[in-house]
């Protein structure tokens, strides 16, 4: 199988820079969301469509990134 329809884009999620990578392998769409700095995957999801995979991954990423605490002061 080949990797098809590979895309990457940057977005702000819960106030943090995030990179959203989506692609298709066979019939399955894969999406993972990485924090930009350092670049670790914080959420991942699969789906039958690009939209479904991204929707689930973005929901998970929003929850995880939103939990990041900033120091006061």
């Amino acid at each position: 199988m080949k990797v098809e329809d590979f895309t990457r884009r940057l977005e702000k999620i819960a106030g943090w820079d995030a990179e959203i990578t989506t692609y298709r392998i066979g019939d399955t769409w894969h999406c993972h969301v990485d924090n930009v700095s350092p670049g670790a995957t914080v959420a991942r999801a699969d789906g039958e469509t690009r939209e479904a995979a991204e929707r689930e991954a973005l929901t998970k990423a929003d929850a995880r990134l939103g939990a990041t605490r900033r120091a006061k002061g």
């Binding site: 080949k2 990797v3 590979f6 692609y23 993972h32 924090n35 350092p38 991942r44 699969d46 990041t68």
Partner: protein, 283 residues
């Protein structure tokens, strides 16, 4: 001509396509996200899990020698094998594996430039098959601790100003604004950095496609912060994996002689009672 000091430690995705199935070549995927391999990987590649297979799972330490020998043997790797490492997120954990292979004296270790991201972006073939390598016998060398720094050495270097400390975490971790990368668990009590450390985030060594920057760009990046190879270098991050990426760049791509990875890193220093900490930007 502008070239890396050890260009033999890097291979292209095309090289991997052309050579992955050859006898004596073993391709290993090591990801930050350990589920990535299951989606599809370089055909013929095996996977190592960084948080169960590339460490001591009882005490905090790198993989013990006997466990490494078993892992490599079970992976069909002999001391003569060419091991090609690649992974997600610009080869972050591939570099972690590379560092440990070098500690135990494996000669032919290489990193696939650009890693998993580049392989996928190029629309290359992937496989879901998990190879079952024929077991081999592997005898590792005694650990080369000149590649690694422990806490007492870092404290000594800080006091004597005998090494340049390079903090490769994100700027927000460096200043103390956050205690861990966004979305990841907090693992330390205090934020900030080791006094005198230079802030050079590890990812700055990479191009957007995940490949390493050119030698001249790397020299400009590190040299601009006073990291030019004239003094020993100690790199650190949170748990020592991002800093193994910088260690690889400084040691193998730029050829600096004395570069060590402090894998205790901020989860050690930032939890240490009484350890000096600076916050804010670099002074």
């Amino acid at each position: 001509m502008d070239s890396y000091t050890h260009p033999e430690t890097l291979v292209t995705t095309q090289w991997v396509l052309d050579n992955a199935q050859k006898p004596g070549v073993v391709v290993v995927e090591v990801d930050v996200d350990t589920k990535a391999y299951d989606e599809g990987h370089v055909p013929g590649a095996i996977a190592w899990n960084w948080n169960t297979q590339l460490c001591d799972t009882v005490q905090r330490d790198i993989i013990p020698k006997d466990k490494l020998e078993k892992l490599l043997g079970d992976s069909g790797i002999t001391p003569e094998s060419t091991v090609v490492l690649y992974g997600d997120n610009n080869n972050w954990f591939a570099a972690w594996a590379f560092w440990q292979l070098k500690i135990y004296g494996h000669k032919e270790a290489k990193i696939m430039n650009g890693g998993r991201k580049k392989w996928l972006a190029e629309g290359r073939e992937v496989s879901k098959d998990k190879p079952s390598p024929k077991a081999a016998r592997y005898t590792a060398k005694a650990p080369d601790l000149s590649l690694r720094s422990f806490l007492p050495e870092v404290q000594k270097a800080l006091q004597a100003k005998s090494a340049v400390l390079v903090d490769v975490r994100s700027p927000q971790e460096f200043t103390g604004e956050i205690l861990s990368p966004p979305g990841l668990p907090e693992t330390c009590q205090r934020g900030g950095h080791i006094p005198s450390a230079r802030s050079i985030p590890w990812g700055k060594a990479c191009n957007d496609d995940g490949t390493f920057k050119s030698p001249s760009d790397l020299r400009t990046l590190y040299g601009g912060e006073g990291v030019d190879g004239s003094k020993p270098v100690i790199a650190y991050c949170r748990i020592g994996e991002r800093s193994s990426h910088t260690w690889f760049v400084l040691k193998y791509l730029l050829g600096y002689k004395d570069v060590r990875n402090y894998d205790g890193s901020w989860t050690e220093w930032g939890n240490l009672v009484g350890a000096p900490v600076e916050t804010g930007t670099a002074r």
